[in-house]
Symmetry: C2
Subunit: 372 residues, 2 copies
């Protein structure tokens, strides 16, 4: 019995579908892979563009299929028809496949099973053009963070605030500078983090209000290229003004942990091992991870994640087993967060190689030197 | 038997989860609604922010639940535990619920059924703050399109190209102006369409290369606000230079069809009826919809769609039955596309009211007058 691979998704948010077809579509469409034959079912609105752009063997017309099936035709009928026409009576789908449609297809006596693990394992191992696409997005990211730090460098501390051309420097201002700079390079940044002081101690707080002098400022920027649709991801931590000795120690610890993490990355290593090496540095230096007053402090997130058509994808560099293979692109981003002291995170993207890794991030690392 | 509502998704891409929680998260999380109790399960990385920001009754700690369940704990175990602890043994999920997780929960003897129709029907009917959010995104859209048309107005035709400050005016340039202007207002535009001549005849072709003088230019802009996360949507068609008589007739036909469509919108009307009224105008004026040389020409997409936390949401204004109720925000966007002549689409967003509708779009409509 032949099994077809089926995806029903919008490739704009579903990386597997974009990977399979190289066709960008904002609303869900059906994709069927039977044997080596790749088919995309498109409505009249998308069909012209699909014929020009999609990297598939055949574009099927949704309106013609609907007409041939007749009254009461649903997407389940359409998928059933295409699957059976290709000699299959079962299909494998991604774990994210929509339940409602799966149940409707099952009701039509087609077996539907979700694939365990990555739907396209080859997505993890980047080709040269994919690596170039990630690097291009990373260069745009670096330009954008430079632009924000440039404003911070030119700004003056007066009292508990920082001023640039008479304006209070805020998270919102720096995020706007970063996001606009990225958009000028056709990279789309969402949820950029520019978080000052205690705000940075909550790693996903995106930051609001005035940047605080003499306190940690985390800038975590992860745009998607509007050209290639690949992501980049970078975090730097800086202080405008003077860092306290405690912050300097925190920064040195995170930097050391990151260096240890990067040194541990190579083909064949378990991501969990890299994560454990990073944790050992913090343990040795006495930085505890624990809840305090109902909030976690210390190092309470993974060391890193794969980056590609998804911002978070396999392999993982955290507490789960996950094999790092040559060609994978992963972040190494340890952090330490203590309310009242500050939050520090430093993140590079590295390409796993046979003998170690190649750092795709060129942005310098310095806590107080904004001349970068 | 009590039934819980369960969502497992990232609220950044899942509007139902954002609607339920007002909490923005980029990676999937579990949300359980039992009776009137709303619960969100968050990992250590998100839990602090969740406690501050999420509009739910309780934040449950994923790490504590995992510890209490013990070795081999999966998300299915976690959801089962929370569902049973709230006295339920079945759950209703959105149609988009991930199949893999649904099957795992079912294997644990919890019934999982996807809801037919909208998961939160109240999402269709916008409150005053929601309407204001859509209008704010629309004002930013209008500013952005003004900025692009301003460049076009100041540009000069030389031969078959258009020049602005010595640079050839391209789709890419105008898209960059629009997208950067929107980003300056914290609105994120993706897939903005600036499509000239025959490119505009494929309604989802986003446009590339030089803008052609004396030909139709479609500008379709639909950003999402980074503040409210609501969308706006607008399309205008212009000609830089002189429109041919055929293009002028095309434009007049689409404008008339749009006016007829808008006039047909009111509480209690079927979206399909509005769509049919629009089609009648084109039929009466003799504009045929048909395939020619393997591509569709005429009017071959729906008249409109709901707009809110999703760019395309219910109700629809197309060939399917879909009730328009007071409070819904829908687009009215007829178009005509003929290769060799041009593509014209005009799109406003309207708020359905008891007696008709209120147009949320203020941008003027004119084919050749770029002085707008």
């Amino acid at each position: 019995m032949k099994t077809a691979k089926v995806i029903y998704a919008a490739s704009e948010t579903d990386a597997n579908l974009f990977y399979a077809t190289k066709f960008l579509v904002g609303d869900p469409v059906a994709y069927i892979e039977a044997g080596r034959r790749k088919m995309l079912v498109l409505n009249d609105l998308e069909i012209g563009r699909g014929r020009d752009e999609a990297d598939v063997d055949e574009i099927l017309s949704l309106s013609e299929l609907t007409k041939s099936i007749g009254k009461g035709c649903t997407m389940a009928h359409v998928i059933e028809k295409v699957v059976r026409a290709n000699g299959a009576s079962s299909c494998t789908v991604p774990g994210s496949f929509p339940l409602e449609l799966a149940d409707q297809i099952r009701a039509r006596k087609i077996k539907v099973e979700s694939q365990v693990g990555p739907f396209y394992p080859q997505r993890l191992l980047k080709t040269t053009p994919e690596i170039r696409a990630i690097e291009a997005a990373q260069r745009a990211t670096e330009d954008a963070v430079h632009a924000a730090l440039d404003v911070l460098r030119k700004s003056k501390i007066r009292g508990h605030k920082i001023y640039h051309r008479g304006e209070v420097v805020t998270s919102e201002l720096l995020k706007r500078i970063i996001n606009v700079s990225l958009m000028e390079r056709n990279c789309i940044a969402k949820n950029t983090i520019v978080a000052s002081g205690d705000q940075g101690c909550d790693p996903h707080n995106r930051g609001t209000g005035p940047i605080k002098p003499d306190q940690t400022l985390i800038l975590d920027v992860f745009p998607r290229s509007g050209d290639s649709h690949y992501f980049a991801d970078q975090t730097r931590t800086v202080v405008k003004g003077k860092a306290t000795p405690a912050v300097k120690r925190l920064y040195a610890a995170v930097l050391e942990a990151q260096e240890v993490g990067i040194a541990a990355v190579r083909h064949g290593v378990n991501g969990r091992t890299v994560h454990e090496e990073v944790k050992k540095v913090f343990d040795r230096l006495g930085y505890k991870t624990e809840p305090r007053h109902g909030k976690m402090v210390g190092f309470f997130h993974g060391t890193g994640h794969g980056v590609g058509l998804d911002i978070h994808e396999a392999p993982s560099v955290g507490s789960r087993d996950s094999l790092l293979e040559a060609g994978a692109v992963v972040t190494v981003e340890p952090g330490l967060y203590y309310f009242g002291v500050g939050g520090v995170r430093i993140e590079d993207m590295v390409l796993v190689t046979r003998t170690g890794c190649r750092n795709l991030t060129k942005f310098p690392k310095a806590l107080e030197d904004l001349e970068l």
